[in-house]
Symmetry: C2
Subunit: 299 residues, 2 copies
């Protein structure tokens, strides 16, 4: 039986880890990135790269797209150098970017009309999960799409949620996740800033709250960077202005109010306004600190 | 050595469980509640009760106050039937209500001026924790206050955080916890309502999010009631209008902005406006459902 041939588009911190994980799992992996240094990094890791998107797409069973947003996904599929008509018929396109459910449904319909499959498969787990082949996929699509994608999903993921046979449901679930994470990180910033204002010891607050009803995954994951003052980007502020932006656009298109998500988005926009768009999303705490001239740990 | 004599004021779902836990731990416990049926319930459990607050206070080493708010705490201590001058000198008053840090500091100073000790000891863990003697105390106060209160705290709590020697720091920590829990429950309601609006299966959302970055203690604890449609009060909406009210009052007194907490408070007030003040706080999801005529599980 031939090895599953996997193409990975986008070799940033997520795509690179996913390509290496798939390779370690014994799949035949080829990567592509517009940036030559990202391609070179994969070669240095013993991987193969293609010279162009269309070269990559011509010889794969599974094409995993790890780009930033819907515009890039659209360009990869249907742009001037797009892969939609280059992929072998019957191959599957696995879309991992966080996009609006409506976009996922439309892209799937368009690609499927040409005889290729589409899996709506946004993910969670960060670079750590990508490197370990331990991502969570929130996926939806046809049975054929799942079947073709399965070897790649198993190699890259630990939990693969099958959320129905319609592209868009995976993206809907991802939006619900991002709505919550976005609010929780902003709340962690507000809570830690208020705690400092009230004269509490930030380390003590982290210890108590992590073990109390106020805990969230986001609080436990992001507050340590507020305690060390290390705001180098693991996940940047701009990711959440983007993802909460999609949440709010989708909610508005549905005529549905999401006031807390809207308020949280403003926290990230305040961080961007203060010049922190490229810093870690835990920078939301520095918005309060800057306003009120609080002394946060790490200065 | 004589047994520590513990008085428990307020025999609601929290105080009752705490009194029984202290008794099981071998302490000499006497309870008091204004409602005769709550006193009878403790007697039925083999406990002792006092006929009045002042009778209770006269013979104790530790007086644990499990009332609703600052006004009741004030009345218990300094009202016409208050205990402040009835407690034996050297005894300790353990204040468990969620109150503003400033109130805790002032009450402590006033009580200590009369030779009694004050422990600022708000708690977390709910009726389940109270019944199991497994509460978390976020406590601050003098070394003497801690020493006197210790047998009672050990009997009623699993984690006793010592947050310094000044009354008010315990209450500050509790406010940070309530700020977060209040936002997280409101966010869980917004997320589940949006998920239903997007056509997702609520059970599936609970399963996926509980295992993803969007998880919080509050999400995991409160969403099950949204899945069964059981909004009978375990912790009522009105508790969070009260507690987030204290958070916002305290922040405003400090001249400090807490926009997310302010927004979350509005969710609970909307639930109150819709007649749900006495229902479980997970009713925040029903605000969205009522507005948009969503079909939530359980009707």
């Amino acid at each position: 039986m031939a090895k599953t041939r996997v193409g990975v588009i986008g070799l940033g911190s997520m795509g690179f880890g996913m390509a290496v994980s798939a390779q370690k799992a014994g799949l035949e992996v080829v990567g592509f990135d517009l940036a030559a240094e990202r391609r070179d990094a994969l070669v240095a890791e013993g991987g193969s790269v293609a010279a162009s998107l269309r070269e990559l797409a011509g010889g794969v069973d599974v094409l995993v797209s790890v780009v930033v947003n819907a515009a890039q996904t659209e360009a990869v599929l249907f742009g001037p150098d797009g892969v939609a008509e280059v992929m072998p018929e019957g191959a599957v396109f696995v879309s991992c970017a966080t996009v609006a459910p409506k976009f996922a449904g439309e892209a799937a319909a368009r690609l499927e009309a040409g005889g290729r499959h589409y899996l709506d498969a946004p993910m969670s787990g960060g670079a750590v999960g990508a490197n370990a082949g331990a991502l969570t996929f929130m996926a939806s699509g046809s049975a054929a799409a799942f079947e073709r994608a399965d070897p790649a999903l198993q190699a890259m993921g630990k939990k693969i949620y099958r959320l129905g046979d319609t592209a868009g449901r995976g993206s809907s679930m991802k939006l619900i996740n991002q709505l919550l994470v976005g609010i929780h990180i902003a709340a962690a910033g507000e809570a830690m800033a208020m705690a400092v204002k009230l004269g509490l010891d930030p380390e003590e607050v982290y210890e108590v709250i992590s073990n109390s009803a106020g805990a969230s995954w986001a609080f436990c994951d992001r507050v340590p960077s507020m305690l060390t003052g290390d705001y180098s980007p693991k996940s940047a502020v701009s990711i959440f202005t983007k993802d909460l932006g999609i949440v709010l656009d989708t909610a508005r298109a549905e005529g549905f109010p999401v006031p807390l998500a809207g308020n949280a988005l403003q926290s990230y926009l305040m961080a961007e306004a203060a010049g922190m768009a490229g810093d870690n999303d835990s920078s939301v705490v520095r918005v309060y600190a800057k306003l009120a001239e609080l002394d946060l740990p790490g200065g």
